[in-house]
């Protein structure tokens, strides 16, 4: 065991106080220490985007951040997107309805990336969606379904806001 630190952070609304090895990256910490295996690790050098999480509302590669750097931060992972155990988030529903996933490996990173994007840009064009997910690799869908899902989700979220 190398050097460790005590950290306190909030993940999906739940407080955690943990001792972490300083060399452990945030993605491994979420999966191995907190058991939150929804965040997927693909390349672990910042290329694939599967491990993307939101740190204080801003997207970050969890493989390119140390767990110790998340001390005092508020994180959102794919497990925290749905409002409860029974319901899906409108973005998740749109993914299901538009064939936005097949194997599901890239999905956690796609969802977190798009949560941030649709928050900043509630009425995007197709081109903007493609640019937003340009840092997330998907090898199943050819991206068509994902782009359709994101555009559909934007409409669903807008309808909810107006309701």
């Amino acid at each position: 065991m190398g050097e460790t630190r005590k950290i306190a952070l909030t993940v999906n609304g739940k407080r955690y106080a943990e001792e972490v090895e300083v060399r452990m990256h945030l993605g491994d910490f979420l999966r191995q220490q907190l058991g939150l295996t929804g965040t997927h690790l693909g390349c672990e050098h910042g290329v694939c985007g599967a491990c993307t999480v939101l740190v204080d509302g801003v997207s970050a590669r969890s493989c390119l951040m140390l767990a110790v750097q998340a001390d005092g931060r508020e994180l959102l992972t794919v497990e925290g997107i749905a409002p409860n155990e029974e319901e899906l988030h409108p973005l998740q529903e749109a993914f299901r309805d538009n064939h936005g996933l097949q194997c599901g490996f890239c999905t956690p990173g796609m969802l977190t990336t798009l949560i941030e994007f649709l928050g900043d840009n509630p009425d995007p064009t197709e081109r903007e969606v493609r640019e937003a997910i340009s840092g997330n690799l998907c090898r199943c869908t050819g991206y068509q379904g994902i782009v359709a899902a994101a555009l559909d989700a934007a409409q669903r979220l807008k309808a909810l806001k107006q309701a």
């Binding site: 190398g2 300083v22 060399r23 990256h25 985007g49 997207s59 590669r61 750097q69 840092g135």
Partner: protein, 289 residues
């Protein structure tokens, strides 16, 4: 566990950083955005004794307009630079280059200072700082010094920063009225590492290119000011003859390196193609202004 063992310090002051750099020298690494450093740790390509995390040093943050120049704090994130109205208004070259820097999650954490200090040969920001004649401010226990961009980039990941110094800010002169900027990059996919790229800042009067700074990156071991091509361009009308002279001069100006993205001859060819496109665009921009 992927990374090798190292010590970690979350720095609370610049003095503490100076002290640690003095003590550890080349065995220390500054952890800023971490978007280049942490991959090398995950892959065990580097094995520092200690990481000095500077992310909570507020004095290294921010972007501000001063006397004829813009101060960009070393810790300013790429995303902040991309969204900054100061940058958009005063440094259009940097604003034009920013969309080429990786992807959103990487821009959210990666820092301007980190990119300049690392001096990756394919990076956009070092080329822009050199094209605009910026100044790098480094500091350490021995004091503070300012280094012109032309003297800062020395080779492959090599800079004039000493191991006991840290880059604290970058000062870039505000682009003068009547000048134009063009940034072009070729990559396999948008956001990937560049194969060839050019940062161009020029003053064009009527049909004449009064003077231009051309900085080539990705093909070279460092961002390269193409002095021969610049001389061939100065005071000339942009026409077929000038184009041939400028493109010809690049043979001596550039020293392309072969890598996985392509051979030296192909990279020279691509830089020549970009040169023509950049000056066409610069002249069109000047006409439209």
């Amino acid at each position: 566990m992927k990374a090798p063992r190292f010590s970690y310090v979350r720095a609370e002051s610049l003095e503490q950083v100076f002290e640690l750099l003095k003590q550890y020298g080349e065995d220390a690494r500054i952890l800023a955005g971490g978007q280049s450093l942490i991959p090398t740790l995950n892959m065990r390509l580097s094995q520092p004794a200690i990481l000095i995390d500077i992310n909570r040093l507020d004095m290294l943050k921010g972007i501000s307009a001063g006397d004829g120049a813009v101060r960009i704090g070393a810790l300013a994130r790429h995303a902040e630079v991309a969204e900054s109205p100061v940058i958009a208004a005063r440094l259009p070259l940097i604003a034009a280059a920013m969309p080429h820097v990786a992807h959103v999650a990487v821009r959210n954490r990666g820092t301007f200072g980190g990119s300049v200090a690392l001096a990756d040969p394919a990076a956009e920001m070092p080329a822009c700082v050199l094209a605009l004649g910026g100044t790098l401010v480094v500091a350490g226990a021995r004091g503070r010094r300012e280094i012109a961009a032309e003297d800062f980039f020395r080779g492959l990941y090599e800079t004039a920063r000493e191991p006991d110094e840290i880059l604290v800010e970058v000062r870039v002169p505000t682009e003068a009225p009547g000048t134009v900027s063009v940034f072009l990059e070729l990559a396999q996919r948008h956001g990937d590492f560049a194969i060839a790229g050019l940062a161009c800042h020029a003053r064009i009067e009527g049909d004449t290119v009064a003077d231009a700074r051309l900085v080539y990156f990705a093909s070279e071991d460092r961002p390269r000011l193409a002095k021969g091509a610049m001389a061939a361009l100065a005071g000339k009308a942009w026409n077929d003859g000038t184009r041939a002279a400028v493109i010809g001069a690049l043979t001596d100006d550039l020293d392309p390196m072969t890598n996985l993205d392509g051979g030296a001859a192909m990279k020279l060819h691509l830089q020549r193609v970009l040169t023509g496109r950049a000056l066409d665009a610069a002249v069109a921009q000047a006409r439209a202004a």
